[in-house]
């Protein structure tokens, strides 16, 4: 049995690393926050972890588009390894091949999409979808209802049903490169979570679908289900007092977001 060990990346505008690491720890993982400079300098090695976490924030201020400059940074960045320079890209692919889990939340999801790490249907880093400006034209912080697809291979959302998390973004509108891409994603059940109305119906309607995403798509996974990214913030709901209506509803102590991290921990222990 493996011990779940999370590496939470920070630096250059990432800003939810603390609560993300907190969520991992609550779920029984060991979690370390590491500045990306330490990864590039070789002081922190992906190989020492089995869960790689790209948290939310504003990588490089989202200049050039959300996480775009960050994607260039990771895609073309070099890691010092045994005295010579290796491509971070290769380190990352190696991590994935070895069965590691990767989660990207909000800006981390945007990063994974723009690096081509999601939906990753061809098994190589190639961007095939994007997350663009919300139809409202604005950044917004509001809570959204989600429904998890029980048929999705995603290991994080196993056994969940309705979820409720905040979105906090200005660029979350899911757009596929083509109808064909969308069809592959849908057929392979790579959409673990979709925006719904409070009644639970998948919707394109604002504000329930906060950004105008096609087919209510709020997150994506790869065909193995080990790589997962989503716009809403599961780490922002791990305790009942984070819920916007905790003072008026009867809620369990643990927030719904914690299940995702517990699923990840459990998967790692079992694999």
């Amino acid at each position: 049995m493996r011990t779940p060990k999370a590496l939470v990346i920070t630096g250059n505008g990432i800003n939810t690393e603390r609560e993300s690491a907190h969520a991992c720890r609550l779920a029984g993982m060991e979690a370390e926050i590491a500045h990306m400079a330490l990864i590039f300098s070789g002081e922190v090695k992906l190989g020492d972890y089995n869960f790689l976490y790209f948290p939310g924030g504003f990588l490089d201020g989202d200049d050039l588009g959300s996480a775009k400059a960050g994607a260039v940074r990771f895609k073309y960045g070099k890691v010092l390894k045994e005295g010579s320079k290796a491509r971070f890209e290769d380190e990352l692919l190696g991590f994935v091949e070895r069965g590691g889990l990767v989660l990207g939340v909000c800006n981390g999801f945007q990063l994974m999409v723009k690096m081509g790490l999601l939906p990753f249907t061809e098994g190589k880093l190639k961007q095939s979808v994007s997350l663009s400006h919300n139809d409202s034209g604005r950044f917004e912080d509001r809570w959204v209802y989600l429904t998890a697809d029980p048929e999705s291979p995603c290991v994080f959302t196993r056994g969940t049903g309705s979820l409720y998390f905040p979105v906090r973004h200005g660029e979350g509108k899911f757009i596929p490169a083509s109808e064909e891409t969308l069809s592959i994603i849908e057929t392979q059940k790579l959409v673990p979570v979709r925006y719904t109305t409070p009644e639970g119906d998948v919707t394109g309607e604002y504000p329930w679908n906060p950004n105008g995403s096609v087919n209510g798509i709020a997150g994506l996974c790869d065909p193995t289900g080990r790589l997962f990214g989503l716009m809403p913030h599961p780490e922002a709901f791990v305790h009942r007092t984070q819920h916007p209506r905790w003072t008026r509803e009867d809620l369990p102590e643990e927030g719904l977001g914690l299940i995702l991290y517990k699923n990840a921990a459990e998967y790692i222990r079992q694999s």
């Binding site: 920070t10 630096g11 250059n12 505008g13 990432i14 800003n15 939810t16 603390r18 609560e19 907190h22 500045h35 400079a37 330490l38 300098s41 939310g56 924030g57 504003f58 490089d60 201020g61 989202d62 200049d63 050039l64 588009g65 775009k68 400059a69 260039v72 940074r73 073309y76 960045g77 070099k78 723009k114 961007q127 095939s128 979808v129 994007s130 663009s132 400006h133 139809d135 034209g137 604005r138 950044f139 917004e140 912080d141 509001r142 809570w143 905040p166 906090r168 757009i175 596929p176 490169a177 913030h233 780490e235 922002a236 791990v238 007092t241 984070q242 916007p244 209506r245 003072t247 008026r248």
Partner: protein, 999 residues
């Protein structure tokens, strides 16, 4: 040869930026357009091959799924073949271009080579416009009137014909050129008083004749002359470096001359009192008194001496808080001003003690009506542009820094047309002990090195401190405007927290107003001197004079004292984390601020003179109570309509459209959010946050602001805002046991002069406000720990003068023992009992209700701190005992508004008999509904807790007035059995939500 890349959204996708332009141009400029499409242009000012360029266009500058790119300069014509005019807006040379900076880093990553500092990427936005019979003049108007700000941006306009003839748009590089040789000038002060004043005016020094004379006299002293000659300085006159340094240090902004002045105050009875420093007497005096009263329970750790005030939090952490204003820059460039305001105030807690971890931001704005329709005086921006720019600036500054914006308000009054007020605040946590000493103390030692880290220095922000010490006038300098860079600052912040925890530095402070002259000048006080090599500062572009380097207010910089033993480790860490840091000198104990350039002394100012040489001001104040017309209208028959109208008043209506644009939950500690209730849209009274995620102890913050009461008496305005902030904090579960206050005064110029003939009255308002601040903070036992004043909030151009109403923002911060006991304002369950706490008096002077009717009146609400404190204590106990289902503060719009908000936020109705409410002297039902008496709450309680709740409140004014009803209507009976309100709750909520929803 510069190269150009153009990028746009795919032609088959919506261009929401372009659509927004069409809307806004129509709305603001009344120019109807057929369409606008936009594209982003990147100008690359370095050598790059054709192959590399097209790879960059595809891989770095554009998103292959949703964007198209081109290197031809002709993307516009392909994208929008029908366009008729092209407008391209970029930055002026030297202005911060964040996206350009990021683009350059991405290019370096992609090309695997690093570029020299001066080889840059510049960004601009191209607007492709189509409209009926547009001419160049109209396009020019679109540029200057909406899409560009001439203070920071430049633009070019091409007709379609010109565009086609030149084969698209050629690269244009806004490089800083015409660089001058750095020089040091000497200034002869042996001139007439008029000439002294002229030197001050021309140099934007904002020094008075008396102050200029004090400077001159220093250079007359023989002892000083001898020392200067020995250093190779002009013996009998200052260098420009010295004069500028003195002007910054002695500016109203930095020295708070009015708050430290000696004032002769004459009250309405002719009684004269001499006040030696309002600051020492009433502000520091209040804190001293409260701390004495607290005795062993004193939780203040560091007050008034550092960048932020510090109080205790728990065994491991202390809590610090600072609120600043950024009014003048926001008037000229609302976006840049507000952005700089928020990232600027972030650096205050970052530079407090040994540096703190930032846990939340707060923002309060005062604007003129955004729907203003009359002609605007010259140089003023439309309040709607100010509103949009400020909100966007704070949105970008807060969100990109990863600091939640948890509390604040927006206040509207048309006198804020002349200068908007932009208050930004930040709280932080400092380790209680750090490397063997208290985290809230600095430990600079002589011999420590002076290090500057973060951004580079440019001409931006030069004279910010002196400029904000003046009214907005025709010559207000454009260099006072600058753009913040949240990401450079975030990197610096991430780096500094690591350096702090490793014990690599001994002291830290921020570079804000006055730049290095201020930060190093102040740090030097701890050791008794500093030596600074100005030529070692990294510059954004060459050609800055030594004095400019010293006083530039370029953003994102911290000054740090690093012991020599640690410097190597400090610099290595900085380099690894891509933070620029340079050693600029060292702290000494030689008693002076010693400035060098290229090894030559260019300034030498004894600290004693620099910090204490400023002659105190002598001012006069005379209080004559104003008398306003008393309202004469009858009590309206339909109070339901009056209530709806009040709910839609700008100062009462929902601000949700603004608040949703701020991330209020990042860091995961949000407990009481800005909007709560059944639909997440009811207005919270205060914020509760949990900064340490494995502890249930939390932080409460709240504010009070109400400038309109100053029209009657700034004394009561102040009493009311202090009471309101405390009341708001108590309403959500805060405790008077552990609460601290911050005062931010924004006044109109209170110094009597030709420009300000009513200075004595305005100063009397300030005196009265300060007296009330002392009275009420000491009565409530809430120590003041920090604050700021901004005293020149006037506009004066041509014959027009607009002065803001005297404004005090009172902010509180405190500890919540258990966040799980927090209470929100929304009514919870059908059948819960509705109580009114606190007594209602006929106090409608300065109320929203009378303002709606066109009256100010004179019956301003009074505050009885004794009665209120007892009530707040009782309510605190009831909340801690879990007896309170909901609690809502009652302020603007009175009981009517508070009850309506409580029930509609719960998606419930209410049956209320207000004739049962505690009251005295109330003769009319509109008074009962809309009076703004202090010290009141609307509380709902579960029937099972009735007896315990009433027992807890025993001895305070309160009454059971009704219950929460299932029906979706609110029914309120008043005196004489009259039914005074009967309304669908949904219609009340609509009235409240509509006014600003679309902004």
């Amino acid at each position: 040869m510069a190269k150009r890349v153009e990028v746009a959204v795919n032609p088959d996708l919506r261009d929401s930026r372009g659509e927004g332009c069409v809307r806004e141009i129509e709305e603001f400029l009344h120019i109807p357009l057929d369409g606008v499409r936009t594209l982003d242009a990147f100008t690359l000012d370095f050598e790059v091959g054709e192959g590399e360029l097209s790879a960059l266009a595809k891989e770095v500058f554009s998103d292959p799924v949703v964007q198209v790119s081109s290197t031809s300069g002709k993307l516009g014509a392909e994208l929008y073949p029908a366009f008729e005019w092209l407008l391209e807006v970029g930055y002026l040379p030297g202005v911060t271009d964040n996206e350009g900076r990021t683009a350059k880093e991405a290019v370096e990553m992609f090309l695997e080579r690093s570029l020299p500092h001066q080889e840059k990427v510049y960004t601009s936005v191209q607007y492709l416009i189509k409209g009926n019979s547009l001419d160049r003049e109209t396009v020019e108007k679109i540029a200057s009137g909406l899409l560009a700000n001439p203070l920071i941006q430049r633009w070019r306009i091409l007709s379609r014909k010109e565009y086609d003839a030149s084969g698209g748009v050629s690269p244009e590089v806004p490089r800083v050129t015409g660089v001058s040789q750095p020089v040091v000038n000497e200034i002869d002060l042996e001139v007439s008083d008029d000439e002294l004043l002229e030197i001050s005016r021309r140099g934007l020094l904002a020094l008075t004749v008396g102050e200029m004379q004090a400077v001159r006299d220093f250079y007359r002293e023989e002892q000083n002359q001898a020392k200067r000659a020995a250093l190779g300085l002009p013996a009998d006159r200052p260098t420009d470096v010295e004069l500028e340094c003195l002007a910054q240090t002695w500016s109203e902004h930095c020295k708070h001359k009015i708050f430290n002045a000696t004032i002769n105050y004459e009250d309405e009875g002719g009684e004269v009192e001499v006040i030696t420093s309002i600051f020492k007497t009433y502000v520091q005096g209040a804190t001293k008194k409260v701390r004495e009263d607290l005795g062993e329970d004193d939780y203040c750790l560091s007050v008034f001496i550092d960048n932020a005030g510090v109080i205790a939090f728990d065994d491991d952490y202390s809590l610090c808080f600072k609120v600043e204003t950024h009014n003048s820059p926001s008037a000229l460039d609302p976006y840049g001003g507000a952005l700089t305001g928020i990232v600027g105030v972030n650096r205050d807690p970052m530079g407090t003690g040994m540096g703190s971890q930032l846990i939340f931001n707060v923002d309060t704005f005062c604007f003129a009506n955004p729907f203003h329709e009359e002609e605007l005086p010259p140089r003023l921006l439309h309040p709607r542009r100010i509103y949009e720019g400020v909100v966007t600036g704070v949105e970008h500054g807060g969100n990109k820094s990863g600091i939640p914006t948890v509390n604040g308000t927006v206040y509207f009054d048309d006198r804020f047309l002349g200068k908007p007020l932009v208050f930004c605040g930040t709280a932080g946590l400092i380790p209680r002990t750090l490397n063997g000493g208290p985290g809230h103390n600095k430990r600079t030692k002589a011999g420590d090195l002076v290090v500057m880290a973060g951004g580079r220095i440019g001409k931006d922000g030069i004279h910010g401190a002196t400029f904000s010490s003046e009214e907005l006038h025709e010559g207000s300098p454009a260099t006072a405007v600058q753009l913040g860079d949240p990401i450079t600052q975030k990197r610096l912040y991430d780096f500094l927290l690591i350096a702090r925890d490793r014990g690599l530095y001994s002291s830290i402070t921020d570079n804000g107003a006055g730049g290095l002259s201020s930060s190093i000048g102040e740090m030097a006080e701890q050791t008794g001197g500093a030596l600074l090599h100005l030529d070692r500062a990294p510059l954004k572009y060459p050609g800055l004079h030594p004095w400019e380097i010293l006083v530039s207010e370029s953003q994102e910089r911290m000054s740090i004292a690093v012991p020599e033993d640690n410097i190597e480790e400090f610099m290595t860490l900085a380099e690894k984390m891509r933070v620029e840091a340079v050693v600029m000198g060292e702290f000494t104990d030689e008693g002076a601020f010693h400035l060098l350039y290229d090894g030559k002394t260019v300034g030498y100012l004894p600290l004693e003179f620099l910090h204490d040489g400023l002659p105190p001001m002598l001012l006069n104040a005379k209080w004559t109570p104003p008398v306003h017309e008393e309202p004469s209208f009858e009590c309206p028959a339909e109070l339901t309509d009056e209530l709806k109208a009040l709910l839609g008043r700008l100062n009462i209506c929902s601000k949700e459209s603004i608040v949703r644009r701020y991330d209020h939950e990042v860091q995961g500690g949000s407990v009481v959010k800005p909007f709560v209730g059944a639909q997440n849209d009811g207005p919270s009274d205060a914020a509760v946050n949990r900064p340490i995620l494995d502890s249930f102890e939390g932080v409460v913050t709240a504010n009070g602001i109400s400038p309109r009461y100053s029209d009657i008496d700034a004394y009561w305005m102040t009493a009311l805002v202090v009471d309101e902030a405390i009341r708001n904090a108590v309403a959500v579960g805060g405790t008077l046991d552990h609460l601290a206050g911050l005062d931010n005064f924004c006044w109109c110029d209170p110094v009597e002069s030709e420009k300000t003939p009513d200075g004595r009255y305005k100063l009397a308002q300030l005196v009265r406000s300060s007296k009330a601040l002392y009275e009420y903070t000491t009565a409530y036992g809430v120590p003041l720990v920090s604050g700021k004043d901004s005293m020149k909030n006037d506009y004066s151009i041509g014959g027009t003068k607009i002065s803001i109403p005297p404004t005090l923002l009172f902010s509180v911060i405190g500890k919540v023992p258990d966040i799980r006991k927090s209470v929100t304002m929304d009514a919870k369950r059908v059948g819960d009992l509705i109580y009114i706490l606190g007594k209602t008096y006929p106090e409608l002077g300065g109320s929203e209700y009378w303002a709606a009717k066109g009256f100010t009146g004179n019956s301003v609400p009074k505050v009885d701190a004794g009665v209120n404190k007892k009530l707040y204590r009782a309510l605190e106990a009831a909340i801690q005992g879990g007896l309170v289902a909901s609690c809502h503060d009652c302020s603007d719009g009175g009981l009517g508004v508070a009850i309506a908000e409580s029930v509609f936020s719960g998606d419930l109705g209410g049956l209320v008999d207000l004739s049962k409410a505690p009251m005295e002297g109330i003769a009319r039902n509109d008074e009962l509904l809309f009076s703004e008496s202090a010290g009141r709450f609307v509380v709902t309680v579960s029937p099972k807790d009735k007896a315990a709740f009433e027992a807890a409140l025993e001895g305070s004014p309160f009454a059971l007035v009704g219950e929460v009803a299932e029906e979706s209507s609110l029914v309120v009976d008043g005196m004489g059995g009259a039914r005074i309100v009967e309304a669908e709750v949904g219609s009340l909520k609509d009235a409240w939500q509509t006014p600003l929803a679309a902004l």
